[in-house]
């Protein structure tokens, strides 16, 4: 009988080498991974094994997985306990939407986004997926691609996950047979074709033994592809594509008290350099970038992901909510949107409710929100629908109270995504992706379905807004109040018509 490995051996065999200097930054951007699959597929075990073998898991955490519960006297850690705290909370009836765990390999931060995978948790998985760079789609080798796998693939696609790893787990339970793996790979092909995932890899593995997780497998010599960890370490993180057209949503105007009127924001896509022409989507006017200002000094170029302050060579009257874009390919200043929504709220869609549309830095009244179809996640078929409740994925037509910069989600996720917000409680009721954005209302006479009220600027200026002066900030506050009034009217069933805008 072989000796039982001690806890100490288990540590030293597993721990990867730390970087030469603990003081150094990690060279690669973090990788956010989402694991999809139910507990039965071995999700906890797979993640546990990955973290145990490849990351810097603390000793007190390691000890807690080995100690105690191993009645058979072996020192094989119970990996599933790593994510156990969450299971316990679930049993207490607390819905955990997304839990975040952080681990380091020698080269990069691995962020594990843990979200429940059951059918009734579609909204939670969708929230989790929206943050993921890579999804690990787990299937049990004994059962192959199931309805749940299809549902998960559909949610990943909807939320914009482009890289998917199909982890065919429990290969040890099917005798490591290549034919089993190839058949599952074949079942998965229609899904990748349907969704057009940018990258997809299938890996045969056994989470319990660690085969093809962090090391190769002698039992599967027929597999020549990468292990799971190799796949993850090679995956590009966020903000990899600098060649995308510029998207710079303005968060705030920042001044230095002299001549600088800077636009604070994050470069959400593409890059921008001093001298570049940019267009303000709302007005369609162009200017050149005069300076890119940061606390640490001016930059010549700001790249995707960087938070900076941009100064233009002339004043375009730009404020929070505006988007600067590449003039070659810019978003639309849209008044009507065709969209996909994931309904997140416990309260179902209320046709008479007051809703707002929040984009990355803008918020506008929704004049009309109409649910048109519901997506069946198992068959990918749409059927007509007019309501939406928690966990539903629906198509919707949205008419806005005023124009908002946006574009199809497939063009640019940051300007193609939005939240639907309950105007009264402020809560987020749905997450949306833009399918089509149009600058003009295509439906004539959409107003007139009910009572209508004209918000006259001169009346407002004499009354509600009489404390506001005619400065830039004043005009912004004026517009904000008009929107709030329109909202209240809308909630009372009255369509507000704004003049002069």
């Amino acid at each position: 009988m072989s000796a039982i490995p001690s806890l100490h051996d288990a540590f030293d065999g597993a721990r990867p080498a730390l970087p030469n200097s603990l003081l150094e930054d990690l060279p690669l951007p973090a990788l956010r991974i989402l694991t999809c699959g139910s507990v039965d597929d071995g999700k906890s075990t797979l993640i546990g094994r990955l973290l145990w073998d490849a990351t810097d898991l603390a000793d007190d955490v390691r000890a807690s997985l080995v100690g105690g519960g191993n009645a058979d006297g072996t020192a094989v850690p119970d990996f599933s306990r790593l994510l156990d705290g969450l299971v316990a909370e679930r049993e207490q009836g607390i819905t955990i939407d997304v839990a975040w765990r952080y681990f380091d390999t020698p080269t990069r931060r691995i962020v594990v986004i843990d979200s429940p995978g059951h059918e009734q948790y579609t909204r939670n998985m969708a929230s989790g997926a929206s943050h993921a760079d890579v999804a690990i789609l787990l299937v049990d080798a004994r059962h192959g691609v199931k309805t749940q796998t299809r549902r998960h693939a559909a949610i990943l696609d909807l939320m914009g996950v482009k890289r998917v790893i199909l982890a065919v787990n429990k290969m040890d339970l099917v005798g490591y047979r290549e034919s089993v793996f190839r058949e599952i790979e074949r079942q998965f092909q229609p899904l990748t074709r349907h969704f057009g995932f940018l990258e997809h890899t299938a890996i045969p593995l056994a989470a319990v033994t660690g085969e093809n997780v962090t090391r190769g497998s002698a039992a599967m010599p027929w597999y020549g592809g990468p292990t799971l960890i190799e796949c993850l370490e090679a995956a590009p993180g966020r903000a990899a594509d600098q060649s995308a057209p510029l998207r710079f949503p303005v968060q705030r105007v920042l001044r230095d008290g002299r001549d600088l009127r800077g636009l604070g924001g994050t470069v959400a896509a593409g890059e921008v350099s001093v001298g570049d022409s940019v267009v303000d989507v709302a007005s369609g006017r162009e200017a050149r970038v005069a300076r890119i200002v940061t606390f640490d000094g001016d930059l010549k170029t700001a790249r995707t992901g960087q938070a900076v302050v941009i100064a233009l060579d002339r004043d375009l009257d730009i404020a929070r909510g505006n988007v600067l874009a590449s003039p070659m390919r810019a978003p639309v200043s849209a008044i009507e949107i065709e969209a996909r929504l994931v309904w997140l709220s416990d309260d179902p869609f209320d046709p008479r409710g007051g809703y707002l549309l929040r984009t990355t830095t803008d918020i506008a009244t929704i004049s009309r929100l109409e649910i048109t179809a519901e997506l069946d996640l198992a068959t990918f078929a749409s059927q007509p629908a007019s309501t939406a409740s928690s966990n539903d994925i629906v198509s919707a037509s949205i008419v806005l109270g005023r124009a908002v910069a946006c574009e199809p989600f497939t063009e640019a996720p940051v300007t193609g995504s939005f939240l639907v917000v309950d105007a009264i409680t402020g809560t987020t009721v749905a997450a949306g992706t833009v399918a089509e954005a149009s600058a003009k209302s295509r439906r004539s006479g959409t107003a007139g379905r009910g009572p209508e009220f004209r918000l006259d600027r001169s009346v407002l200026a004499r009354g509600l807004c009489r404390d506001i002066d005619d400065t830039f900030e004043g005009r912004a506050e004026f517009a904000r109040r008009v929107e709030e009034v329109a909202l209240l009217l809308k909630a009372a069933g009255i369509d507000a018509v704004r003049d002069g805008n």
């Binding site: 839990a99 924001g265 790249r303």
Partner: protein, 301 residues
């Protein structure tokens, strides 16, 4: 060609984005400044976020009257150097009742001198959002915390009613009576905080560096005696040891560690090669199981 953006570059940018969003969406924000390393990073990021302007909010320190003297000195200097208004709030009712970390259980002390004090201060000034330096890697109930975390009237945290956060869209619209906690360091780990302090050459409280300090050993932990309010138990005696702190809080509740790391490089190296997790030095978290979750529900940060 400029160097590629590193992990810390992207974390910094994300935090700046969060600061700017919160400042734009809330009417009267405040930064909860607790003087430790995380607050130091938080404050530095706030400066970067609003440059060339000053951060558009004051600092709030909830003073339990049991902070290390070095912390108070550091706090006052930090606020003065940045030219930011500093509000110091103490629960006077708790002081009058003589609530202390020595006489009372950590849970009672925390409830009165920290949680109740924080709620008083936020209500008194009408702040609708408070920035804090909490990180998701600190503790299990923090792991599911949002970047914008909402509190119902009375500042209660209900984990079941938190708003989903999708993509990088942050929704700060409040319901009547609601307030928010904002966590710009959500995605940072202890390791990131230390490396960032090193990279940005930030000043931190001297207690993080090893020095000879008067200590006693109590319940298996090393406690630094910061003033004359602690009564020694039979058998206890004050001994001078080379110690430093990995986290800072109220001195009777914060365990020191023996160390000779006296430079920032040594401190970071020693901390980051440690193979145990950070909160072991915080006595209040061990008071009862699920302690943090309970404290948060009652309004603790």
């Amino acid at each position: 060609m400029t160097r590629p953006l590193t992990h810390l570059d992207l974390l910094e940018a994300e935090s700046i984005h969060i600061f700017r969003e919160a400042a734009a969406q809330f009417a009267k924000p405040v930064l909860l400044y607790s003087i430790g390393k995380d607050s130091t990073v938080l404050l530095h990021l706030a400066r970067k976020a609003f440059y060339p302007e000053r951060p558009p909010f004051p600092l709030l320190h909830v003073d339990t009257t049991w902070k290390f003297r070095d912390m108070i000195t550091f706090r006052d200097a930090a606020a003065r150097d940045l030219g930011l208004p500093l509000i110091v709030h103490t629960n006077q009712d708790g002081v009058a009742r003589g609530i202390s970390p020595i006489e009372h259980a950590p849970s009672v002390y925390t409830d009165v001198m920290k949680t109740a004090a924080l709620k008083q201060a936020l209500d008194l000034h009408g702040f609708d959002a408070a920035f804090g330096g909490a990180r998701r890697d600190e503790e299990a109930s923090r792991a599911k915390e949002r970047v914008f975390s909402f509190r119902s009237p009375g500042h209660r945290w209900d984990p079941r009613r938190q708003r989903p956060e999708v993509w990088s869209l942050l929704n700060g619209r409040l319901d009547a009576g609601e307030t928010a906690r904002i966590f710009p360091l959500s995605n940072w780990t202890e390791r990131d905080v230390w490396r960032y302090i090193l990279r940005e050459r930030l000043d931190i409280v001297p207690l993080y560096f090893a020095a000879e300090r008067p200590t006693i050993r109590r319940d298996g932990q090393l406690i630094v005696v910061d003033d004359d309010r602690m009564t020694l138990r039979p058998g206890e005696q004050i001994e001078h040891r080379m110690v430093r702190f990995r986290t800072l809080g109220c001195w009777p509740l914060t365990a020191a560690m023996e160390s000779t790391a006296a430079t920032i490089d040594d401190v970071v190296r020693e901390t980051l090669s440690s193979r145990t997790s950070e909160r072991q030095g915080r006595l209040i978290d061990h008071d009862q199981s699920g302690a943090m979750e309970r404290k948060k529900q009652e309004g603790y940060f």
